[in-house]
Symmetry: C2
Subunit: 216 residues, 2 copies
């Protein structure tokens, strides 16, 4: 697949690197591809097949788009990517609406009767938004077998069953063994609202290398 | 221990029944002990050592108080129990602030930068509030070994370490094997905000007999 990964941070690099390793044609999208930060240049040097482009150029040629930007950067980045470029495409949305305005722990800027995933879907109605992977650390998103041989759970939420299937297959190819389809995109409220617990567990355990398993 | 369980619903009965079985002296508190519903009478007949009393009478003689009322019933029930009766006591708070005003799934009436647990603590500053067991179904709260031989997690949140120890020991006596101390009472925001995900999993799995395990 041709995959556009929007965002050059930890999550973007993890997804881009792993997808390239699995043979996908990966372009990372960023605001200004001519002004890459030093740490990106370093990362890119070890991932020669991954190319960098502006948000719109990266998205235009993609089969699957991944939103790996920050919560408050998501709508601006997707707007820059362009509604036409995003039309009919599957958008794997990993962002969480974390608000660090009042320090740590952050609160959520959208929750309860709405979610960032739903906001993105409303802003881009022709895009097939699937919320997933926003409940675990970047390393485990793409290499889940490093923890308990993958014996833990991830979730997908979305209104388009075929789009969820595409994302589920990608997650399975990463090594996930328990991908739970929660239902329509409003179920993303549940996974986004998991973040406050995740952040406290992170503080308590002293490592981000943990995940939840739905025992049933 | 002398345990007062406030609330005659599913959660109250589960806690009261199990605590009595383990040899504790259990009184269930209710608004009007002379007006018990038929289904309570039936339950009580099979639990002859458990007594029923008004909120204040049940609380007055207790070492440990359990809030097993509904989210919107919690502050009224505890007010009826009486600030003096609750002073210095450990209060195990199991309630979730679910608001069914807009149908299913419910939203939360307090969240993000506050929690029901913290509201209760502010209303009763001399009481030692510990939030726990609000993340799983009543049957599993008290008989966790029936699922994966207890290989799943529960959480405690509270400002008083000794109070958390009392609750942790009670949970361990119920059969819990992984009781995670998240930290101070503000961490209850995380466990209360887990409810939206729990409710969607309940819908998806078609059973409440599931729980989360923190895999690390």
């Amino acid at each position: 697949m041709r995959i556009a990964v929007l965002g050059t941070g930890m999550v973007g690099r993890a997804i881009a690197g792993r997808a390239a390793e699995l043979g996908h044609e990966v372009t990372v999208g960023t605001r200004d591809a001519t002004a890459a930060r030093d740490d990106w240049t370093e990362w890119a040097a070890t991932h020669p097949t991954v190319t960098l482009a502006g948000y719109a150029d990266a998205t235009a040629g993609a089969d699957l788009v991944v939103n790996a930007t920050s919560g408050d950067g998501s709508l601006p980045a997707l707007t820059a990517a362009g509604e036409e470029n995003l039309a009919d495409k599957v958008l794997l949305d990993i962002a969480n609406p974390l608000d660090f305005g009042n320090g740590f722990p952050p609160t959520l800027s959208v929750l309860n009767d709405d979610s960032l995933g739903e906001r993105i879907q409303r802003a881009f109605p022709r895009t097939r938004v699937v919320k997933a992977l926003n409940t675990l650390t970047a390393d485990l998103m793409v290499q889940p077998r490093q923890l308990a041989d993958g014996d833990h759970s991830v979730f997908v939420s979305g209104d388009d069953p075929a789009a969820k299937k595409v994302v589920t297959e990608l997650l399975t190819s990463f090594g996930h063994t328990d991908v739970i389809d929660l239902g329509d995109l409003s179920t993303a409220r549940g996974t986004e609202m998991l973040l406050p617990l995740w952040l406290r567990l992170y503080g308590k355990l002293g490592t981000a290398l943990f995940n939840l398993k739905v025992v049933r």
